[in-house]
């Protein structure tokens, strides 16, 4: 940390040729974003206050959902803006250096890895696809059976008695719900297989908890795909087509995202073995 209580927040690494970010863009901690250049690369950084972003403060603040959201959105805004000007390698949230010198040393140390990652990501964007089990519409609660409304049925078939008929319908509902879940899982696998074929790389995230995604239905796929820009139209069309063909799932498409999910899990650039980290 510098003597004046500032430390350096790292957003992303880009090629040196990329234009500097617009000065108006406020980053994490509302500070301006500036490039640090070394080894043919530019690290996008901003100064943050040690009292809020120093190690102890960070550990505390990361547990605060409001703080986390504000910080994550600011981090993302800078990376997304940089991504419109060329390939970017995003840094994990809360990568903080004590000084510019540390960032510059890191850039030089990992220059080859960053360059490889930038070259691999050029002309590609990340797209997110989530699938939810399409719970069959239970329809109105069968409720107490009002009894045959039509002409009276003379047969004393027990199955036609109101209570029995209700239980039978209720069981059919529950059975169809279980099999819907199984069909949804199979549908999600088929969707993922087809979308993987249209993408450069794919990565699976754990399904989000029900409710978190704003859906009561269980999530059966939470995937990210790295797609070449010239294939983006085909990819989106494929999602629409798959949504029509696999009625067991409801699909949601998000993006394009900066390639957060395809820069490896550790050590600058990483490999392209998406989904196999740790």
């Amino acid at each position: 940390m510098t003597a004046d209580g500032r430390c350096v927040w790292l957003y992303a690494v880009t090629g040196d040729g990329a234009p500097a970010p617009a000065g108006a863009l406020a980053g994490v901690g509302a500070g301006p974003v500036r490039p640090l250049r070394a080894a043919g690369l530019a690290a996008l950084v901003g100064d943050v206050d040690q009292r809020e972003f120093g190690e102890a403060a960070l550990r505390r603040n990361l547990e605060d959902l409001g703080w986390l959201e504000q910080t994550a959105r600011a981090h993302h805004a800078v990376i997304e803006a940089a991504g419109t000007r060329g390939p970017v390698v995003p840094l994990r949230l809360a990568t903080v250096y004590r000084s510019d010198a540390g960032v510059l040393t890191m850039l030089r140390d990992y220059a080859a890895d960053f360059r490889a990652a930038l070259s691999r990501l050029a002309g590609c964007r990340e797209w997110g696809v989530k699938a939810f089990a399409a719970v069959p519409d239970p329809g109105p609660d069968p409720g107490p059976d009002p009894g045959p409304a039509g002409p009276p049925d003379d047969r004393e078939d027990p199955a036609s008695r109101p209570g029995t008929a209700y239980l039978r319908r209720r069981r059919a509902q529950l059975t169809s719900r279980t099999s819907a879940r199984q069909e949804a899982t199979a549908g999600a696998q088929a969707v993922h297989a087809e979308l993987s074929r249209l993408s450069v790389s794919a990565r699976l995230y754990p399904p989000q908890a029900p409710g978190l995604a704003g859906q009561a239905a269980p999530m059966v796929l939470n995937a990210a795909y790295l797609v070449a820009d010239e294939q983006a139209g085909e990819f989106a069309a494929a999602v629409t087509d798959l949504a029509g063909r696999h009625r067991s799932v409801r699909l949601g498409l998000t993006g394009p995202w900066p390639a957060y999910s395809f820069v490896g899990g550790s050590d600058a650039g990483g490999s392209d073995t998406a989904g196999e980290r740790r």
């Binding site: 009561a216 949504a243 409801r250």
Partner: protein, 64 residues
């Protein structure tokens, strides 16, 4: 009816999708240089806090 969310761009990204990416994606630099904040255990703790907080917020709506 199958529901297909349109690609975003004109709307804020969902926080939960963003946190998937910024907390579990992105390059992690290891070594002597950083404050070692981006460690997995910390992120795990944070996500647990998030799930708890957001679940509580959404609890009422879940019963729709």
């Amino acid at each position: 009816m199958t529901e297909l969310s349109p690609a975003i761009g004109d709307q804020r990204v969902a926080l939960v999708d963003l946190l998937d990416r910024v907390l579990a994606g992105g390059v992690v630099i290891t070594g002597e240089v950083t404050l070692s904040i981006a460690e997995v255990d910390l992120v795990t703790v944070s996500l647990r806090a998030l799930v708890t907080s957001v679940s509580a917020l959404l609890e009422d709506q879940d019963d729709r």
